[in-house]
């Protein structure tokens, strides 16, 4: 009886703590959401009320129209999907070579591959921006997509997966006369689906959320701007548009939050797979 009460109190205490901590974690999002969902005068009243009353979509609609956010969402979507497909394909191919093929200098070549992971993007952007300029890729989809199409991490991850597949599979297949591409496409890739899913989700999120490279390669052209860069433009609007950025934030964050809820398991797998990489 007493033990039950203690356990019950503990449980209630933990719930109270969970709720309190959740409130702190969610407060920034909630406060911005309330500012975005209230009309101009209400959104900045003093003292500030964070209660969800008198809500309106005016700010979000204004941000949508003036920031051209529909277009920017499509741009982000297109670029992220293309990069994701590209990374999965290039990773599959290179990983296959490293896992199933025999060729001279395989070891050193793999080390060289891994070594490129040591070069952070923050270092290469200086010159890549010049390269994109000389290719005429400033303000273009190519500029956003092509430099991200290869992923050393992806190659590594998929190779690890391939190495776990029984070697007899490949041997049996080649006795049956199954070529490399068919084996890759019909056997190896389907068996690695969870890894590929995690890699794809990870790549998608990384591309969607990227900031530095898009900010250097998209220079004022709204037709090709991603949503992240559009947010910066909303922030830098003049004083008459002071609240638009809150509307833009809601629009930019929403699709990703939906994805988070839908693909939480894959995301966790992707992140913890990253932990293996070290």
């Amino acid at each position: 009886m007493a033990a039950d009460t203690v356990r019950g109190a503990r449980k209630a205490g933990r719930y109270a703590l969970l709720v309190a901590v959740s409130a702190v974690v969610l407060f920034p999002i909630w406060a911005v959401l309330m500012q975005a969902l209230k009309s101009g005068p209400d959104s900045l009243d003093h003292p500030r009320s964070l209660l969800p009353v008198d809500l309106t979509f005016g700010t979000i609609r204004a941000a949508w129209d003036q920031g051209d956010l529909g277009r920017l969402l499509l741009n982000s979507m297109f670029v992220s999907v293309m990069v994701t497909i590209g990374v999965v394909i290039t990773s599959l191919l290179a990983a296959y070579a490293f896992a199933f093929l025999q060729f001279p200098l395989k070891g050193p070549l793999f080390i060289a591959f891994l070594a490129t992971m040591l070069v952070p993007g923050e270092v290469t952007v200086v010159i890549n921006q010049k390269t994109a300029d000389s290719l005429g890729w400033i303000n273009s989809y190519q500029g956003l997509i092509v430099p991200s199409l290869a992923s050393t991490f992806g190659v590594f991850l998929v190779r690890q997966m391939f190495l776990q597949l029984p070697r007899e599979l490949r041997e049996a297949a080649s006795l049956d006369g199954v070529g490399h591409l068919r084996f890759l496409w019909e056997v190896a890739a389907p068996l690695s689906r969870p890894t590929l899913g995690a890699l794809g989700l990870f790549t998608f999120l990384g591309t969607w959320n990227a900031y530095l490279w898009p900010s250097q390669v998209i220079r004022g052209d709204r037709a090709h701007e991603t949503i992240q860069i559009g947010l910066e433009r909303l922030k830098n609007s003049d004083i008459s548009k002071i609240n638009l950025v809150t509307g833009g934030l809601v629009v930019a964050a929403l699709p990703i939050f939906v994805m988070l809820v839908l693909f939480q398991r894959q995301l966790v797998r992707g992140l913890t797979a990253g932990a293996v990489k070290g």
Binding site: L17, L93, F113, P120, I127, T131, L212, Q216, A275, G278
Partner: protein, 298 residues
């Protein structure tokens, strides 16, 4: 032997896409930056003279670079330990089989999906000194929120950026640490419980050692992110406040719009190469740590 040769055409075909892309967008820029770093050119980059390798030394020893290095390290020290502690706290709190715990887990991981731009601008809106909600609610207790504002005060600006980063990284840390916690065999706890170990002892003697690999991984990632932080600086402070330029990290020094070298490609290249070398030093040190852990852990 025959097999090795027969596979070559396939290997080449399969490796070429990745290799070509990495060569053009990762290796070439590094080589080119190293080469650029000792030139001195006019603003269009057409007329150049060789400034010598000494230019790297001048850049490295310059007050601006040293300051940026210090800011980057400070940012790492502000974000990494706090980020790990909060992540562990959340993970331990949510590591119980309770009804609706999934909801709380989703909430705690929610910031993993926020981009650097979204997270930074959320805090930019919250921290606005005149009309921001934090200033409105709390400036009575913390006058700095209004005058001059957390992001505008030399003493608090970097901490405010760190706050935004810690919040943005919370979801990631939570997910990794939770995965670490779930891999701890339950029997260990049970036997410790039988031995009469209290919850604190159980945490320090069992949980902490068992999740050390996760913590190490989290710290490595958070350190890397701190050293490479650009977006949060560009969006929150623009490297300021002046005159101390309290939040000018190395990436901001290279790419920032308010950076004094923003249109000097050669100095930018030199600084980027130095950033690479510094990242390399950190990578090696971290790898050493990782190696050691693997050694003791196995």
């Amino acid at each position: 032997m025959k097999r090795r040769l027969r596979d070559i055409p396939w290997a080449v075909t399969m490796l070429v896409p990745s290799m070509a892309l990495l060569a053009v967008w990762t290796v070439y820029p590094l080589v080119k930056a190293v080469q650029n770093g000792h030139l001195s050119c006019d603003s269009t980059g057409n007329r150049c003279t060789d400034a010598g390798w000494g230019q790297y030394k001048v850049v490295f020893l310059s007050n601006e670079f040293q300051h940026a290095l210090l800011v980057s390290i400070k940012l790492a020290l502000l974000t990494v330990p706090a980020g790990v502690v909060f992540g562990v706290g959340l993970a331990v709190l949510a590591d119980k089989q309770l009804r609706a715990i999934g909801v709380f887990r989703t909430i705690f991981s929610s910031t993993v999906a926020t981009s650097v731009a979204v997270a930074s601008l959320v805090w930019f809106v919250l921290l606005q000194p005149q009309i921001g909600v934090l200033s409105d609610l709390f400036s009575g207790w913390f006058p700095v929120l209004k005058n001059p504002g957390l992001l505008n005060d030399h003493g608090t600006a970097l901490s405010a950026v760190a706050l935004s980063s810690i919040w943005a990284n919370l979801g990631f840390t939570f997910i990794i640490v939770t995965a670490g916690l779930q891999s701890v065999p339950r029997e260990l706890y049970e036997s410790a419980y039988v031995d009469g170990a209290g919850s604190v002892r159980r945490f320090t003697d069992i949980t902490l050692p068992m999740i050390m690999p996760s913590l190490l991984f989290v710290s490595i990632v958070l350190t890397t992110r701190a050293l490479q932080s650009y977006g949060e600086i560009a969006l929150l402070t623009g490297g300021g406040p002046n005159p101390q330029k309290s939040t000018t990290t190395i990436p901001y020094l290279i790419y920032g719009q308010n950076s004094i070298i923003h249109n000097n490609l050669q100095i930018k290249s030199a600084a980027a190469v130095l950033l690479f070398l510094i990242s390399l030093v950190f990578a090696v040190v971290q790898f050493r740590g990782f190696e050691k852990r693997v050694h003791y852990g196995s």
